[in-house]
Point group: C2
DNA sequence: TCTATTGTTCGAATATAATCGAACAATAGA
DNA sequence: TCTATTGTTCGATTATATTCGAACAATAGA
């Protein structure tokens, strides 16, 4: 079963993380993943964007180390790499999620 | 004495903040301001960039609510709006600064 | 093997950002 | 008033990002 490659958390730069989080669509994806607390397929987000656009944003989230995508059958299951990000950038993701919550 | 206008912290969006912090030059400016713990002139940073480029980055830092610029004579004194950002986005700037520290 | 489902990749168009020299503005001080 | 200092603004160039339709790839299930 083919799987997508992800960066090791050590090689993720802070600028990559900030950049990934600077787009409203991607922030929304991150917020929903966090709120759901489970793996979600790309299709589940329903953000009124064509799939090529969604795929683009997921690619950037993956390259920033924020999202891990596991292929299960024809579906791509996406999960936040909460522990990895927390280890590499303690507090950053948590506080961003908190800010998203009350927005 | 003319002064530069800054956004009220309430109207700063999280995406603005993330975007401002996604550029290496701007992160460096923020890191130095935090490390210095005092107001600094644009010229003090000495990042080997023309002043028009530096001015551009400061403009973005200001629009993100991160930096406050006070004009004193011919100098523009820049300070991090630590308290404002902390109030609006608790923990975000602190954790980013911590991540910058050990990088 | 054929088809439907789920995403990715490609390519092109549009939009946004970074960069930097040159001109400009405000002020301090001679 | 003249000059030096400090940044900003302007304008043009180059580089990156976003967007989306269309074509493609992998898999499940009939």
């Amino acid at each position: 079963m083919r799987q997508i490659k992800h960066p090791a958390i050590e090689q993720v730069e802070l600028t990559d993380l900030m950049y990934a989080l600077s787009d409203p669509t991607r922030l929304e994806i991150v917020a929903r993943l966090a709120a759901a607390g489970r793996k979600m397929t790309c299709g589940e987000f329903d953000l009124n964007r064509p799939k090529s656009s969604m795929s683009h944003h997921f690619k950037i989230l993956r390259s920033a180390g924020l999202v891990e995508t596991l292929i299960e059958g024809t579906e791509h299951m996406n999960a936040l790499r909460v522990a990895d990000i927390e280890q590499k950038f303690p507090g950053v993701l948590q506080s961003v999620l908190k800010a998203l919550d009350q927005a």
